[in-house]
């Protein structure tokens, strides 16, 4: 038989691989897409990859941006390991998501901001958050990979480790119960990638009181005024050396989150004029909703026109 024919035979008659689940892969792809869009929109992201073989780590709540993405240990497909890994995931997943939701709520978000993703996706997310820095990406991936190996090694002594994990989970539940103000939040031996360190430079600044923490503030904008009263909050920032259309486009992108309950641009209008000297003047207005609020975002040129004023007015629903 000739080489060409042997290659055809090789592909046609190769033993069938283990049956996979196309729907699971489809859902995983859609989740990745959603996460990518979130990251592109400048949303702060925490990636939490869970392994339950070591103790708890405690992090101050104010270090927790939203949303939180909790990565659960992959259900290993190798038969020799699958039972242990699956059980491990089941033991820890629930409590980690629970903790993440507490943390998100405390930070001003909504519990729905918490997603569960597969462990493998940590690599993908690390790549996005590292923003092209291969050293950083490898560092993040290394940690994730080592943790998974630790949990899912062949010969992994499941009963002992499982008991340890269960003890930790119980200790963790008790910590939550004893600390209603959630001064700290605990995770079951997590890898945490804080978006503040790794995200692209468009990540928001802190917001004033009364504005959901997820509201995007341009990194170069200066807060000039702020007021909050009976569920209504107003804040104004000024931004020098900017173009109104560019800023309006940025906010339009940032406020279109593919997230249930997240920011959404309900309507938009505006009028800009391009002057012969190259400057652009005018106003853009976005009607927005999200994170339990509705309101209006106005973006105006000032005098001189390269100063842009951004004003948000929000009312709690």
């Amino acid at each position: 038989m000739d080489v060409d024919e042997r290659i055809r035979e090789l592909v046609e008659h190769h033993p069938a691989p283990p049956a996979g689940d196309g729907r699971v892969l489809y859902e995983r792809g859609r989740r990745r897409l959603r996460t990518r869009r979130l990251a592109a929109a400048g949303v702060s992201v925490v990636v939490v990859a869970v392994v339950a073989t070591a103790g708890l780590q405690l992090l101050p709540t104010d270090e927790v941006p939203t949303p939180v993405i909790a990565g659960l240990p992959e259900l290993d497909q190798q038969p020799a390991r699958s039972a242990a890994c699956a059980q491990l995931a089941a033991d820890t997943a629930e409590v980690v998501v629970e903790v993440a939701e507490h943390a998100v709520a405390r930070a001003g978000g909504i519990p729905g901001d918490v997603f569960a993703v597969e462990h493998d996706d940590v690599w993908e997310l690390a790549a996005q958050l590292a923003d092209g820095d291969p050293q950083l990406q490898t560092a993040v991936g290394d940690i994730a990979d080592d943790q998974q190996q630790q949990a899912c090694e062949p010969g992994f002594a499941y009963p002992e480790v499982s008991q340890h994990a269960r003890d930790e989970v119980e200790r963790h539940r008790a910590a939550i119960a004893d600390d209603p103000d959630m001064q700290t939040y605990a995770t079951a031996n997590v890898l945490v990638v804080l978006a503040g360190e790794f995200a692209p430079p468009t990540v928001r600044q802190p917001v004033p009181e009364g504005i959901p923490v997820t509201f995007p503030v341009h990194p170069d904008a200066q807060l000039v005024s702020h007021a909050e009263h009976e569920g209504q909050a107003t804040a104004t920032w000024q931004l020098a050396g900017a173009d109104i259309e560019e800023i309006a486009n940025l906010y339009h992108e940032w406020l279109n989150e593919p997230l249930a309950g997240g920011w959404n641009v309900v309507a938009s209008d505006g009028m800009t004029t391009h002057d012969p000297d190259g400057t652009t003047t005018g106003r853009a207005r976005l009607e927005i909703s999200g994170y339990g609020t509705t309101g209006q975002l106005n973006i105006d040129t000032m005098e001189p026109p390269d100063i842009i004023e951004i004003t948000i007015q929000l009312t709690a629903q």
């Binding site: 290659i7 489809y26 792809g29």
Partner: protein, 160 residues
């Protein structure tokens, strides 16, 4: 839901063949399995585009091989691969052309991809070139050179 159903149907139609082709290209059944899963996830991410392609199976194959090649570069020193001889001889009851797979591994990756797409998937020179994003002339020369090399080596092996 229509997209999900279409994707699942595509997966069920193409998974076995793509897996076989990637295994033959990599010589590592386990890595092939991971690479094919990864490639199908990426297909799901871009399903609207992938669905509209002329040869979506070829695209998945290419993505899987590229992913695995990159993965190997990164992790070769950290995780031993599982040679197909160990996996297949022990676990399956089907005759696998291990000599051919072994010889394929001696070729540059690009030549392997050309051979597999041309003869494993039955693509024309033009379709192979489009799938791999290379010139038709490159496909012709790579296929010719690779076939000759493998033929000579297999004959030498058989003659021993």
């Amino acid at each position: 839901m229509e997209n999900a159903e279409a994707f699942v149907a595509f997966y069920e139609q193409t998974h076995r063949r793509v897996h076989a082709a990637v295994t033959a290209t990599l010589g590592d059944s386990q890595l092939a399995g991971e690479a094919v899963d990864e490639a199908f996830v990426r297909a799901a991410e871009r399903w609207r585009d992938v669905r509209a392609m002329q040869r979506p199976g070829g695209w998945v194959y290419r993505v899987a091989v590229n992913w695995a090649t990159s993965w190997r570069r990164k992790w070769l020193m950290r995780r031993p691969t599982v040679p197909i001889e160990q996996l297949d001889r022990g676990q399956v009851d089907v005759e696998v052309d291990l000599d051919l797979i072994g010889q394929l591994q001696q070729l540059p990756v690009q030549q392997r991809k050309v051979l597999i797409l041309r003869h494993g998937f039955g693509l024309s020179v033009r379709d192979t070139a489009e799938t791999l994003g290379i010139a038709e002339g490159t496909v012709k020369s790579a296929a010719h050179r690779a076939s000759q090399q493998i033929r000579a080596r297999l004959e030498a092996t058989d003659g021993r």
